[in-house]
Symmetry: D2
Subunit: 195 residues, 4 copies
């Protein structure tokens, strides 16, 4: 049950973003991307457990797939329905009630979304990016985070693109031009900064 | 059921915005505002029927009340629950499945929301504002619409503030400084501009 | 001479905004507004001296008057030329080399301007608004500051509208709906928060 | 002399953006970038002549280099002063009085700038990107243009990065993920769409 004004209980300088993981993979190269994404599921679940233990918020930042109804539940339901090719992947990484959820209309997690305002409420100064695709929505979100003076980290083994070459080039690009730190999930240190 | 990329079927130069109508009225002067808002319900319902007949989209632009879960359904459920003081009002003007829904984190319907992008998809050049409160979220949305070169109309008898004086001053302010046209709902002309 | 990366020397939680003071007054009610603005000149100059002594930055936030050349000097030159009706006023409050300057294309100081980024560099959490017109650009900037969680103060005797009634209504509106504190310049306390 | 409201005489569906060409090259790899940029100068000058003949606006979108004074002239003066390593390059491509000028605080030409509003005034639906560096500010501006539903073209031989490999990877990235068309300047077709 919604308790107005009581739902942002977190204060945290670090925030983890799960980008476009609720996905229908219904686009060109969707099957290739799904194949690359499958190994991420277990790592993402583990990362989320670690974040929760450190009281660090996890924010799902997800395409609205042209739905424009602000209805995260419908998007989840569509992506896990019987005939959805990515249903196993999406079920494995589906949001829990305590996770935050921001719908985005375009590639970047910051463009025409309340992500800026939500990060401000958290008191966040650093974001860790996970999700798909590395060379598209992750790159756009990394640039936009960097322009807002946020410290941007990319969890390299929690991101995927349609193939490994594109994934690696995108990581190198973000390191060189978006001030991004590229690390594996295992080497992320989550400090409990909650207040 | 969500059909990706098929949900924005409208093309329309005119769009009607229903602002903060899903409301819990749990704030100072909430009861005063509710009392002023009650007579709007029938007019808003009628306005929506007329818009639908003219194939003009209605977009609910609503506070997320600090929930940050992109979950329009929870907000509706909270506002119509048994003990909600505004449950009758909210039930009377609740969204239908074909209505659009944009959640906003702050006062203006444009600040950190996808409203700009949605209006671009519609091909909209004119917005008609309805909702509460006239002197707060309606004023902010009117100014932001005007700065985006949208033609702004305010349906004066489909808006309310905590008292009539504040309502009227806000209407005069928007007319003088936000380029807003102030008209009654009955005098709105909805031309079917769908393509 | 420009010294790259050396020009933002200020760190300050408080910032003073001078809004649309470089003005040509060439619009309907321009002469009425100029008449109301003339008494502000001496107070604005004094306020700027006090801000400078406390090491608080003053940012001119000014309409570009459709010029789109990012050329603050041309705008100043136009407003103080021989035949400009506001030349005396503008000369009296013209920017000094140490003042900052942000051009805005529309009413709000925040809309499509770098003001957000500049305030972030200062580390600012509070803005004090001065300028013209109280019921137009000051109102829009107050709302936008409030939505960004900035503490908004309006220096009531350093703002003016085309007449006293509009000025006072706008002050009351900002107090009630934009969380603005309304005070006279003399009662502003500038704490030296520079680091 | 500034003539208010008369300065945007252009109406054009196409606009050419000259990004970060007024540059001091005073950053790591600045000399490498300058060496790659030098051959662009003649092509950029020719492109501008062609755009002008077709009545297509050219907008310089340039870093403010931390200056925050909205003073395009100072930035130009600094970049062409005697000891500036890029003075020859900058002199060759300096703006003419009829060119537009937008200062940007960060990488993207759209972030906290009036570029959106200026393009709206032009009625622009397509942007052609030229400038430096391909893998940084050009990439960010291409993504942001694409998210705004603008048709994005990159003039490949009017852009440069610190080396050819980075330049080519960035072009491939923009083609794959930002919907960008990659063409040489010679193959650009400028249709006179002025109204």
């Amino acid at each position: 049950m919604l308790v107005p004004e009581k739902n942002v209980h977190h204060k945290s300088s670090q925030v983890v973003l799960f980008i476009d993981l609720l996905n229908h993979f219904e686009f060109p190269e969707g099957r290739e991307l799904l194949a690359q994404a499958m190994p991420l599921a277990a790592r993402l679940a583990k990362l989320k457990r670690r974040a929760r233990q450190a009281n660090i918020p996890v924010v799902y930042v997800n395409d609205n797939f042209g739905q424009w109804r602000s209805d995260a539940r419908s998007i989840l339901e569509y992506c896990v329905r019987g005939e959805a090719i990515g249903r196993e992947f999406v079920r494995a990484i589906a949001p829990d009630p305590e996770d935050y959820f921001v719908l985005k209309p375009m590639h970047s997690g910051f463009y025409q979304t309340p992500l800026d305002a939500l990060l401000r409420y958290f008191g966040a100064t650093a974001i860790t990016l996970c999700g798909i695709a590395t060379n598209s929505c992750i790159v756009c979100t990394a640039h936009d985070g960097n322009m807002r003076d946020l410290k941007v980290t990319v969890a390299s083994d929690c991101c995927a693109a349609a193939n490994v070459r594109l994934h690696r080039q995108a990581l190198a690009h973000m390191k060189a031009t978006a001030g991004a730190r590229i690390v594996t999930a295992a080497s992320l240190r989550f400090l409990n900064t909650s207040r």
